[in-house]
């Protein structure tokens, strides 16, 4: 009896979420959503760790505030703002199209979200660094 050919099984790879090969604009939104979500979760954890320094007395906290005012740290604030804007604006787009609103214009909505993210991030960067002396 001839043996049955065993197909090569599919490897389920989460990294496929970030594989942009051959993908189109809607997928970029999908990738941006995931990357910004991971970034924001990591930020939230870091934020809680930093806040815990409050329990270690004023000197520990003052030390952190001095670091937080450095230009390198402020640059990280801008990365945070980019993440919040990208995730939030794309989240609004996904909520709308999930309820069937504006589905034929989902690509334009994505572009608008990305343009607003860039514009507001630049405005935020200018506002933050204008305060630096």
């Amino acid at each position: 009896m001839a043996s049955e050919v065993q197909p090569k099984p599919v490897k389920r790879k989460p990294m496929e979420w970030f594989n942009l090969k051959g993908k189109r604009v809607g997928f970029w939104g999908y990738v941006v959503m995931r990357l910004s979500a991971i970034g924001l979760v990591l930020y939230l954890m870091l934020h809680l760790v930093i806040l815990s320094q409050l329990a270690m007395g004023p000197s520990a906290w003052d030390g952190f505030v001095a670091i937080a005012k450095s230009p390198a740290f402020l640059a990280l604030d801008i990365v945070l703002i980019i993440g919040i804007l990208a995730h939030g604006l794309n989240g609004i787009r996904l909520s709308l199209i999930g309820f069937g609103v504006g589905v034929p214009r989902q690509k334009i909505m994505l572009w608008i979200g990305l343009v607003l993210t860039i514009v507001f991030s630049i405005m935020s960067a200018l506002a933050i660094f204008s305060e630096v002396k």
Partner: protein, 239 residues
């Protein structure tokens, strides 16, 4: 027109690799013609699935340069003289050999929905000659679905959730709920209102981009989400 076909090769028990075959096809030819030339002129052990050669059977779906295509209707001139066509099997389906996949993934999902829609009109998609009723700008037809599986291949969610119903079956469910024709819709709602159903879709719209017949499964899934959410809200309010 001279081209190179860079073909994914896999035989059970061996490591996958690529073989490149120089081929010559007419300028009016399609990618399937180039694959057939590679088979006929270089290596008759190349295994690939095809039948109708005119986008009617949906059996030849694969990846050309990492994008889901029906090679029987994808012109070679889109890639240009001397181009290399990288040919891979569809994603998210077990590979039997070379670019032939186990397509049962496609049909099992359609069977779950029941495949009740029978085409009885021949207006396949609107063009400039189509006379539409007043107020209707365009239309899409789920009945155009070839069941080629390209949407399942393109969907990033399928890459991680093997139980996901997938764009084709969800679009079929939406079509069925829009016009049940006596079918038990409760069963359909139970199937789609599930963690592996409509809520697993994360709206990348790769299915819509990949569909060779403009069925637009992405939009159908969005309508289905609204329908399922509306039904839940109505039930919560005692309706």
């Amino acid at each position: 027109m001279k081209l190179n076909v860079k073909m994914y090769r896999y035989k059970p028990g061996t490591e996958p690799h690529y073989d490149t075959f120089p081929v010559e096809v007419p300028e009016t030819g399609n990618v399937l013609d180039a694959i057939e030339r590679a088979w006929a002129d270089h290596d008759m052990s190349i295994m690939f699935r095809h039948a109708c050669h005119h986008a009617s059977c949906g059996s030849c779906g694969l990846l050309v340069n990492d994008q889901e295509k029906l090679p029987c209707v994808t012109p070679v001139k889109d890639y240009g003289e001397g181009a290399t066509l990288k040919i891979d099997p569809m994603r998210n389906m077990p590979v039997i050999t070379d670019i032939a996949v186990d397509a049962s993934v496609i049909y099992q999902r359609m069977q779950l929905i029941g495949m009740p829609i029978i085409r009885n009109a021949e207006t396949l998609r609107p063009d400039k000659r189509t006379i539409l009723p007043e107020g209707l700008e365009t239309f899409g037809r789920f009945e155009n679905c070839l069941e080629c599986g390209l949407c399942l291949s393109a969907c990033p969610v399928m890459a991680t959730d093997p139980q996901f119903l997938g764009p084709m079956a969800l679009a079929a469910a939406e079509r069925l709920l829009a016009e049940p024709r006596g079918v038990d819709v409760e069963h359909i709602y139970q199937l789609v209102d599930d963690e592996h159903g409509v809520w697993r879709c994360h709206s990348s719209f790769e299915c819509t981009e990949a569909c060779p017949y403009e069925v637009d499964p992405g939009a159908a899934i969005m309508r289905l989400k609204r329908k399922v959410a509306g039904r839940k809200i109505k039930r919560l309010l005692g309706g």
